[in-house]
């Protein structure tokens, strides 16, 4: 076992002391956080400048209401929208000048409201960029409201009464965790589950591929047989798995630490966001456990693929089936978020390959009874033993084979070799 330890040490050192690891570990979460906080931040940035509109109202009914319904203000207290009304006749006469204003950026947009807006329910938005969906949606919603109100009034009904009568039902969701009621929305539930599922999926895929690459590198650099002169192939395999696996754990630990700091910081800055990504320590432990199970299951398979191929190109096409074995449970888990307690979810969470993601998904949504978790761990440990037995045999023969890719009948033969 001393030699296994030496191999682990070497694998760990070579993986951790690379730029890739440092960048991935430190920049990775920053990028993820960027995705979470970024859009909100940029939205607030982009709306720092007021938008200027010109309104041409042929109907004469909408323009007077504009200032009332577009009364939003920016952070600095300035109005968000600035309107100026243009007489339709003047607009007709100097249409080109007005359009030129828009093109040159002096004015952001022209709203042309036709005389029959009450009937047709259509208006025209003239702008240099029509990609600003938020603004267009805002204008559509708010002008619709005015038009509806006026239509109701014209039909002799009271708009405020109608509003009261047609109000939608709101749902307040409460999640019960060990007798404690926790008020969380489905959105929060979904985001938390999804973030962790995604992390599980990405890291299993990432470390599987890094093992694959490392096996291929050892084959192309022809070091394998030199190592076999000191130890046997099973110890090599074990050392590599444990070495790369421990790199993964260290990475998680760093992330957990960073996450803790961010959550602490975010809970004072942006409480709404921090509750999306907070989980209990027990769930984090389960997360680590199912990463380890998933890592051993899939990385061992990637190892076999590496042993069967002699270059990266071969390996990429041959690793596709293994990658599918990760993607399918990932997709299945997404539907389990919605229905975590069905019989199918229970059965899937016991099957190796499916367990890491589906069982974790169930744990994070509705904590299943402990015996189910224990059973799933048992079936998976069994599965890993079987996989490792087979892969050890493939690895033993494959790592000494150069220059060609093994065929399926060959692999079957390898499994039977003494």
């Amino acid at each position: 076992m001393r030699k296994v330890w030496k191999i682990i040490k070497r694998e760990f050192k070579t993986a951790v002391l690379t730029k890739g690891f440092i960048i991935g570990t430190v920049l990775g979460p920053i990028i993820i956080l960027g995705f979470i906080f970024g859009p909100a931040y940029f939205m607030s940035l982009s709306s720092d400048k007021p938008m200027t509109f010109r309104v041409v109202d042929y109907s004469g009914e909408i323009a007077p209401e504009m200032n009332k319904i577009f009364s939003d203000t920016l952070k600095n207290g300035q109005p968000r929208f600035i309107f100026s009304e243009i007489d339709p006749q003047e607009y007709e006469a100097r249409k080109k000048d007005f359009q030129k204003d828009v093109e040159e950026g002096g004015v952001d947009a022209i709203l042309v409201i036709p005389a029959d807006i009450m009937k047709s329910g259509q208006l025209t938005y003239v702008s240099k960029s029509i990609g600003n969906i938020d603004i267009i949606r805002l204008i559509r919603e708010r002008i619709s409201n005015i038009v509806n109100e006026k239509r109701l009034l014209a039909a002799g009904m009271d708009p405020s009464l109608i509003k009261e009568l047609t109000q939608r039902v709101k749902i307040n969701t409460v999640k019960l965790v060990k007798g404690k009621a926790e008020k969380r929305g489905f959105d929060q539930e979904f985001v938390t589950s999804f973030v962790f599922l995604m992390m599980l999926y990405m890291t299993i895929l990432m470390y599987g591929n890094s093992i694959l690459r490392s096996v291929i590198e050892e084959k192309t650099s022809r070091i394998i047989e030199v190592l076999l002169s000191s130890t046997d192939s099973f110890k090599l395999m074990l050392g590599k798995l444990l070495g790369v696996g421990s790199v993964g754990l260290v990475q998680y630990l760093i992330w957990a630490l960073m996450g803790g700091i961010v959550i602490l910081g975010a809970s004072s800055l942006a409480p709404a966001v921090s509750q999306f990504i907070s989980i209990s320590p027990i769930i984090f432990l389960y997360f680590i456990l199912f990463f380890i199970i998933g890592f051993f299951t899939f990385s061992t398979l990637y190892m076999a693929v590496g042993a069967m191929c002699s270059d990266m190109q071969d390996a990429q096409s041959l690793s596709a089936p293994v990658t599918f074995l990760i993607i399918i449970p990932f997709i299945v888990s997404m539907s389990i978020i919605k229905n975590p307690s069905t019989d199918m979810a229970f059965v899937l969470s016991l099957i190796p390959f499916f367990t890491p993601m589906t069982m974790f998904m169930r744990i994070i949504t509705v904590m299943p009874p402990f015996w189910q978790i224990a059973l799933s761990i048992f079936t998976n440990v069994l599965g890993i033993v079987v996989i490792m037995w087979g892969v050890a045999r493939i690895y033993r023969v494959g790592i000494l084979m150069y220059g060609k890719r093994a065929t399926l009948p060959e692999i079957v033969k390898w499994l039977r070799y003494r």
């Binding site: 001393r2 030699k3 030496k6 191999i7 070497r10 070579t14 650099s221 022809r222 070091i223 394998i224 047989e225 030199v226 190592l227 076999l228 002169s229 000191s230 130890t231 046997d232 000494l400 150069y402 033969k413 003494r418």
Partner: protein, 301 residues
């Protein structure tokens, strides 16, 4: 007790018999050559000795014992397919290889530095392997094979791809190790190297032993008692001498085979008394290469 005793080992790859009932034994301190053309089964045999491949039949004993994993620490093996981690630093790499032979970290580092100094690679200790020239990398391979002072050294085609300087370098190391009493097995298809180095040889072809024994004995057995002659004048009379088996004449160059047991000196005296102007007289010993071609060559021609 033999350093290695191989008894009737056989290995199939599917239906192909790569190694067929090979047996040999090697006394401690011997420099043993495993010879044969490409694909004869040399590498498979060596891998079986190292327990990298398990024979289908037969038995291998190393230093009197059946294979145990810990025996690997007492063996230095240089495989035919050899390499280093390109991104590791030289000293770290050698330390790792030493540790894999159960040396302690400090001991491995000390030995690595000592060997690097000796091989004039001291100033490269902290460079990455990939920055080294190929010749330097080969030297590092040798250090990795012998740094843990193994009792048994096995080298598969150690001379392939070496430049003349490194070839001589390796040869000197091997002779030095032999002097220290180490047992060395090397495989090669380069007969002139084997001829210069080996005490004993085992020639295999198509997985079978075709010839084995002490090199001198083999050479004596296959000796053709031949003489090479360069001359000016009429040498036709040589063919008619009673102790000459045959003579191939090429104008002013002749290959002569004497009958068994006739000393070449007898012909030398005869020529000295004749009118023939002899510019070269060489009592040639049959080379291993000739033996190799005689035994193996027929099938490959």
């Amino acid at each position: 007790m033999e350093a290695i005793a191989v008894k009737g080992i056989t290995k199939y790859y599917d239906d192909f018999k790569a190694v067929d009932e090979i047996s040999f034994s090697i006394a401690p301190g011997t420099l043993f050559g495993l010879l044969g053309p490409n694909g004869a089964g040399k590498t498979t045999t060596m891998r079986m000795i190292m327990n990298i491949i398990v024979p289908d039949r037969g038995e291998i004993r190393i230093m009197g014992e059946k294979f145990r994993e810990s025996l690997k620490d007492r063996i230095g093996y240089l495989p035919e397919e050899r390499g280093l981690y390109p991104k590791m630093k030289l000293l770290d790499h050698l330390q790792f290889l030493g540790e894999m032979k159960s040396l302690s970290g400090a001991e491995a580092k000390r030995l690595a530095l000592q060997w690097l100094e000796r091989f004039n690679l001291g100033s490269w200790a902290h460079k990455k392997v990939q920055e080294l020239s190929k010749g330097m990398q080969q030297k590092v391979q040798f250090i990795g094979t012998i740094m843990h002072a193994p009792d048994l050294i096995i080298m598969d085609e150690p001379f392939s791809g070496l430049d003349p300087i490194n070839t001589k370098f390796l040869k000197d190391i091997l002779l030095e190790l032999k002097k220290e009493g180490k047992t060395i097995i090397l495989s090669t298809h380069l007969m002139d190297q084997a001829e210069k180095l080996c005490d004993e040889i085992c020639l295999i072809n198509r997985g079978k032993v075709v010839l084995k024994g002490p090199l001198q004995e083999i050479k004596r057995r296959y000796s053709h008692n031949a003489v090479l002659l360069e001359y000016r004048g009429d040498a036709a009379f040589i063919q008619d001498l009673p102790y000459v088996e045959s003579a191939d004449e090429y104008g002013n160059y002749m290959e002569i085979r004497l009958k068994d047991g006739v000393p070449p000196a007898k012909l030398f005296k005869e020529l000295a008394n004749s009118s023939l102007e002899v510019s070269r007289f060489e009592a040639s010993e049959t080379s291993l290469n000739d033996i190799f071609i005689e035994i193996v060559g027929g099938e490959h021609a």
